[in-house]
């Protein structure tokens, strides 16, 4: 049977986390207990953080506005960018924060009900933070693909139903 391949286990969960432990066990050639234990361990180690659903907000008729903000930061002695990053990611309006290479330092994804709300948040909360040098706000106009999933997939199964 061999040790469980955690990478493959995670690939399966990332594709569809609702698949039963029994099914995963069959797919990986492991027993159910081994699969359960591996998942539990990875949850405890916070390798697996959460099991969210991927939603197409446009179909939902949800008008939530998403913006990506490029933030330039002056790094600080000992803590680098981490402290400023934390000041930013603690806001519930902030969906993601990444430290970037290249022309700016932090990439911040913000959601709000209107463009104005997002713009005000940037102006009043982000731009004024100590060590933040500048911000540039880009609003998302359309989503094509996220986390490997194409929103409007046009490819279908065109195969004959039976073939040798």
């Amino acid at each position: 049977m061999g040790a469980i391949d955690k990478k493959k286990l995670l690939d399966i969960l990332q594709d569809d986390c609702r698949i039963s432990h029994e099914q995963i066990a069959l797919m990986l050639g492991q027993d159910v207990e081994t699969v359960k234990r591996a998942i539990k361990e990875m949850e405890e180690e916070r390798i697996i953080l959460k099991y969210p659903a991927l939603i197409n907000p446009e179909k939902l008729g949800d008008d939530t506005v998403t913006a990506m903000i490029d933030v330039k930061v002056v790094p600080q002695r000992d803590v680098g960018f981490d402290q400023v990053a934390e000041r930013i990611y603690r806001y519930p309006e902030v969906r993601s924060v990444f430290l970037m290479s290249g022309g700016y330092d932090l990439s911040v994804v913000i959601e709000g009900r209107t463009m104005k709300e997002v713009a005000l948040f940037v102006a009043q909360k982000l731009a004024v933070l100590e060590h933040v040098q500048s911000t540039a706000t880009h609003f998302v106009l359309k989503r094509y693909k996220k986390d490997g999933v194409i929103y409007d997939e046009k490819e279908e199964d065109y195969r004959l139903q039976v073939s040798p």
Binding site: Q161, V162, S163, P164
Partner: protein, 395 residues
């Protein structure tokens, strides 16, 4: 006034048995809402980078004939790949011919090599076109049964029972459609000694080679002494999900290839250039995508085989291709009856084992080249069906 219509037809063709798949295909086509596990091709669409290579080729104006042999670039790339991956060396410009799918290659080999009445040993169950291509070439197909007790591997014992002084060729089709069986090196070495003893040519159709999940594929011509008597056939349909592109190839002794090329040039002229460009891209840059697909098949394979064994349809472990071949004996039904009832009652399509030769009786071919969601739904339905069959049998 015309004669009766039969008199215009070639009796060899008229007498070819119709494909067992065909009748079942019509049945499925007339049923709505079917989950089909009866498909003998990948469910993946050709990887994007390969499709894109074709777009760019078309933009640059690659829309013409190629050399009869196929483009030199593709043949060189195939030679490189065969050497690296399967340890078998072919001279790209004289020992490799690009064909319109591996199917054409099978036909070419039969027509170029067989003299009237010569016999060809064809393992059973196996893909549907070997026996008819032998017949069309004027040869005589001789079925060699394989058994679940041997994991559907071809044995020298079975071959010895069928070989005659008139036997010319042996077909090797592993990994096997429909059983998923593979042959390991020691078993192939035994077959090699058999081929030598009876001085047989070997047609090695290795189209599923890349889809080998346990152990690694051993290419028959890589076995000592076998390259000269082997016609090796492969292609891109299964490994790179490229069935519709129609690109296969045949490798062998340059005299064999020269004769096959004559037939090819007078009938096909060349394989489609778009397909050849796509195949070149697949060989050069397709490894990662291929591995991703193989991984997916492997997980589905374990899943369906596990489910079959749980529901009482004993399934030997298929180590290649993308088919499971479970026994349906617990249901008390014939292969045909099982498939028809399953389709009628649960709207799940699988193919009767008998479509691949009489030794497929008592088995069904289930293709796991289908999404996990489809497979899960189909397995649940089949489980319910098998339970019902067993209850009916008991009462």
């Amino acid at each position: 006034m015309m004669k009766p219509i039969e008199e215009y037809l070639n009796p060899t063709i008229v007498n070819l048995p119709p494909s067992g798949i065909r009748r079942f295909f019509d049945l499925v086509a007339n049923t709505k809402g079917v989950i089909s596990l009866g498909v003998g091709e990948p469910d993946f669409i050709t990887p994007w980078h390969i499709r894109e290579a074709c777009f760019y080729g078309l933009e640059r104006g690659y829309t013409m004939y190629t050399s009869n042999f196929g483009t030199p670039e593709l043949r060189k790339e195939i030679a490189k790949y065969a050497a690296k991956r399967y340890h078998v060396e072919y001279e790209p410009l004289s020992e490799i011919l690009i064909t319109v799918g591996a199917s054409e290659a099978v036909d070419l080999a039969m027509r170029a090599m067989l003299r009237p009445g010569e016999e060809v040993l064809v393992p059973e169950p196996s893909y549907v076109s070997y026996a008819p291509t032998v017949t069309m070439a004027g040869g005589v197909p001789v079925g060699v049964p394989t058994y679940v007790k041997d994991d559907f591997q071809l044995t020298v014992e079975a071959l010895e029972q069928k070989v005659t002084s008139n036997t010319k060729m042996l077909v090797l089709c592993y990994p096997n459609n429909p059983t998923g069986a593979i042959m390991t090196r020691p078993e192939l070495e035994a077959i090699a000694r058999f081929a030598e003893k009876h001085d047989l040519l070997v047609l090695a159709d290795e189209i599923y080679a890349e889809l080998t999940y346990e152990g690694s594929h051993v290419s028959f011509p890589s076995i000592a002494g076998m390259k000269d008597r082997t016609i090796l056939i492969n292609g891109f349909s299964k490994s790179h999900a490229m069935t519709g592109w129609r690109v296969g190839y045949v490798c062998g002794n340059k005299e064999f290839v020269a004769q096959m090329t004559k037939i090819h040039q007078y009938t096909m002229l060349c394989a489609p250039i778009m397909g050849q460009m796509a195949a070149l891209e697949a060989l050069r840059n397709g490894e990662a995508e291929k591995e991703r697909m193989v991984d997916q098949y492997d997980q589905r394979r374990r899943f369906v085989v596990g489910r079959f064994n749980e529901m009482g349809l004993t399934c030997f472990n298929p180590r290649g291709a993308f088919y499971a071949f479970p026994s349906i004996s617990v249901t008390g039904l014939s292969s045909d009856a099982f498939c028809e009832k399953l389709l009628a009652e649960e709207k799940v399509a699988v193919v009767p084992g008998t479509a691949f030769g009489q030794s497929g009786e008592g088995f069904i071919r289930v293709s796991y080249a289908s999404s996990l969601a489809n497979l899960t739904a189909a397995m649940d339905k089949m489980e319910a069906f098998v339970e019902r069959c067993q209850k009916r049998q008991a009462s």
